[in-house]
């Protein structure tokens, strides 16, 4: 019998050996930090950006760390807003960056509701991306997303995915490589994506290439977007209704909620205009101000998207691979350095000596003046940067 089943036994043994080896390796390296394996420098002290596992990793971290302040949004927030900025400690808060790259507001709400299952956050910062609010006029407005708790099966799948798959094995290998790379792709324990790999790209290809590549992609995306923010017959949209829900719940729960319009680089602002999106951009801010006003004093809407010294930082010319851009990786993603200024403005009002037009709190009373000022700044920027504006507009035109 043994002789007859030798093939099947051999197959079973080698199969089991491979599975055991992979699971053991993943347990030791623990690429997602689920297992709590000891952190050994050179092996697994840094954790790689987990790609498709990101939501699960951040959910697990929220349950483990129970933060009392949250950062929500998309990759702009994930890259720019540092949960370990000293301003948090000054306010006596422990923050976590639960922003999810490539995700809209619905994902942000789910992260918030997940966090609330462990700890009710006192302060929440939500990054608002205008592009998420452009809506088809017949889009369906869905009910406010509910909390989804992790079932036993979910938990099993998460654990299994963390140890028993090739995806996990690949991330384990990436973990080890990340310890030794000069520009490793990682996320911090508090959820910030420091985008170190961009540093490496900037060194080789220069910032011009990074801005140019993104600008091409953005131009193609913007000209294909709908150009309105409201669903027909309403003053709402899928994303606006989520903001309304967020504001209402923050008011009820007494949460300090900061709605933050990201500091887009001027290149993106020029593109908005060239793509015919500027009227919707202004209308969006007005509507956000109305919604925020309903929430009372605990709800603050901040606009960082004007033409300030920061957002108009020059982009190095073609062929220049040495000039460093201080505030941006490319026009859509600001660096932590600029994110720090945003956080200081929001969390420590009064501490920023001269914020100028960078970070204006929008209220019903100042919205007209504010929008007027941005328009004037825009015209001034166009006048003094004619070649740059013409190039950017041409890029949008080519993408049509």
């Amino acid at each position: 019998m043994v002789r007859r089943t030798r093939y099947l036994c051999g197959l079973g043994v080698s199969l089991a050996a491979l599975l055991v080896a992979v699971v053991a390796f993943n347990l030791v390296v623990d690429p997602y930090g689920y297992v709590g394996a000891p952190r050994i420098p050179g092996l697994n002290a840094l954790k790689p950006g987990p790609g498709s596992e990101l939501v699960a990793v951040k959910r697990a971290a929220l349950a483990r760390l129970a933060p009392d302040a949250l950062i929500l949004g998309n990759s702009r927030a994930e890259v720019g807003f540092d949960p370990e900025h000293p301003a948090w400690a000054t306010r006596g808060l422990e923050a976590y960056n639960a922003a999810i790259r490539g995700a809209g507001l619905e994902a942000a709400v789910r992260m918030l509701e997940t966090a609330r299952q462990t700890q009710e956050p006192e302060v929440v910062i939500v990054g608002l991306d205008f592009l998420d609010f452009l809506t088809a006029p017949d889009a369906a407005i869905r009910p406010f997303p509910n909390a989804t708790s992790e079932s036993v099966i979910d938990r099993f799948q998460r654990w299994f995915g963390a140890v028993g798959t090739f995806g996990a094995l690949r991330d384990s290998v990436r973990t080890i490589i990340a310890q030794h790379g000069r520009y490793p792709e990682i996320i911090t324990d508090r959820g910030l994506n420091p985008l170190r790999e961009y540093e490496g790209i900037a060194r080789v290809e220069g910032y011009h290439a990074m801005f140019a590549q993104r600008a091409q992609e953005n131009a193609r995306a913007y000209v294909r977007k709908p150009s309105g923010i409201f669903v027909d017959g309403t003053r709402s949209s899928p994303s606006l209704s989520i903001v309304e829900g967020l504001v209402e719940r923050a008011r009820q729960r007494g949460t300090e909620l900061h709605l933050v319009i990201y500091p887009y680089h001027a290149q993106i602002l020029v593109m908005f205009e060239a793509a015919g999106l500027w009227p919707a951009f202004e209308q969006w801010k007005r509507r956000l101000a109305e919604i925020a006003a309903k929430g009372g004093p605990g709800i603050k809407l901040w606009d960082f998207s004007g033409f300030s010294d920061y957002t108009t930082e020059p982009i190095p010319g073609a062929g220049d691979t040495t000039t460093e851009v201080r505030w941006y990786w490319e026009a859509g993603h600001f660096k932590k350095a600029l994110g720090d200024l945003v956080l200081e403005r929001i969390l420590l009002p009064g501490d920023t000596a001269d914020a100028g037009n960078f970070g204006v709190r929008l209220m019903g009373a100042n919205i007209d003046a504010h929008l007027r000022r941005i328009s004037q700044d825009r015209d001034a920027f166009r006048t003094s940067n004619q070649a740059f504006v013409a190039d950017t507009e041409a890029l949008v035109e080519r993408a049509r």
Binding site: R4, T5, R6, Y7, L8, C9, G10, L11, G12, V13, S14, L15, A16, A17, L18, L19, V22, S52, F160, G161, G164, T165, F166, G167, L169, V204, E205, A209, A212, Q213, Q216, E217, R220
Partner: protein, 515 residues
Amino acid sequence: MLFNSYEFIFLFLPITLIGYFVLGRYGKGFGAGWLGLSSIFFYAWWDYRYVLLLGASIVGNYWFGCHIARAHGTRKGRILLGVAVTTNLLLLAYYKYADFFINTINVAAGADLPLLHIVLPIGISFFTFTQLAFLVDAYQGKAAEYRFVYYVLFVTYFPHLIAGPVLHHKEMMPQFDMDRNYRARIRNFEIGLTIFTIGLCKKVLLADSLAEYANPVFSDPSPQSLLVAWGGVLAYTFQLYFDFSGYSDMAIGLSRLFGVKLPLNFNSPYKADNISEFWRRWHMTLSRFLRDYLYIPLGGNRHGPARRHLNLMVTMLLGGLWHGAGWNFVIWGGLHGLYLVVNHTWVEARSRMGFGRRSAWGRVAGVALTFLAVTVAWVFFRSPDLPTALGLLKGMVGINGVELPAALVARLGFIQPMLESLGVDSYLGGTTRFVMTYAWVAAAAFIAFAMPNTQEIMRRFDPALEDPRATMAPSLALDRLTWSPRLGWSMAIGLLLGAGLLSLSRPTEFLYFQF
């Protein structure tokens, strides 16, 4: 339930196998009944709403088949056959083609008829075709009457139900009636598990990896430059092959666990040196069906070359439409019909001009030309619409220029001036994708063109109904890669199975499920 899912591999399959062999001890009817019920459960897991449709199709066709067989060759038999075939085709037309026809009328006549938005019952093309063959054979007196339970099993048999192979009752029903197939045999497990493992790895390691590099070019409406377009289209060319032949291998392997051999469905089609040969190697059971039940009844090659060419075109156009309710599939079928006509004309011209046997280089040129023609046709097969297909083809002939990723050009150093003089441009970003696309295409091409296929590896152990040794194409390392139930092979297959299982976490659908 996908073959490449945890629930299939760790629950459905073991439970079905155990039930089959335990119940099979009490009689073939019990074993076959259990397997039939399990198969219906497998189908219901996809979409329980259409179990009744499947059931009605089976009962109705069995009833018709029995009556047609008893009246075979008579007028009554012909009428019954006509009614049964028409009913089957109407059902298929309603569920699969209604919206296509309505849409075509709307576009052609500027009408505004509302679409029906019917959800396609999965596998309907397959279970309709297998039963049509049964009905026609019953009329011709070629179908023996078997127990109803075997008929149910023949139609629903889960290894083939969703995406083929297109089975023929003559090769399946006798196997369901064999006593020895209801006893668990170690050799069947060895062979079945090995073939299943090879198929699983083709799917999850090769096809799914290639998909990542194939999908973007078909979903990006912007103009693609030559190398980018070719990279994506070649990735799809190999993705489809490894996906569908992987699925077919898994079906053959799974069936072998139950002692039942299935017909071959793929035989290294990209090694074919002419288009006729390609169709003898690609989706072989469908080709066989179309030949026996469409091309030959249309007259085949019995009425002169012109009629033969017309029959080929009709067969391929309908074969294209069988793959999907869309004009792109019709164009794809039409292209293949045209290829076949050109091929036949060329073969006739060669023989008339007295050319002798082809040289080795002639064969290589034949393989290259066939592969090129097939790849061009896949563009229509895969593209979501005609503008996308035409846009990609423009890119493939160089109308949108030739570009390489800027970062790659920067690293090419000494040949950079040469590239510039050739008019090769550069684009920003996408370096990793570009390099990985061609790396995967190269690896896939090596396996598809140079390596022995599954049945060649397994050829000493009757892996399928046909003997693979009769139609082997040249490949590297054939002797070293000839399977036998030895320890070395068991270790290798165990590792491959492990690799396949570790890649299951996000099951992806097989491409042929949509047909």
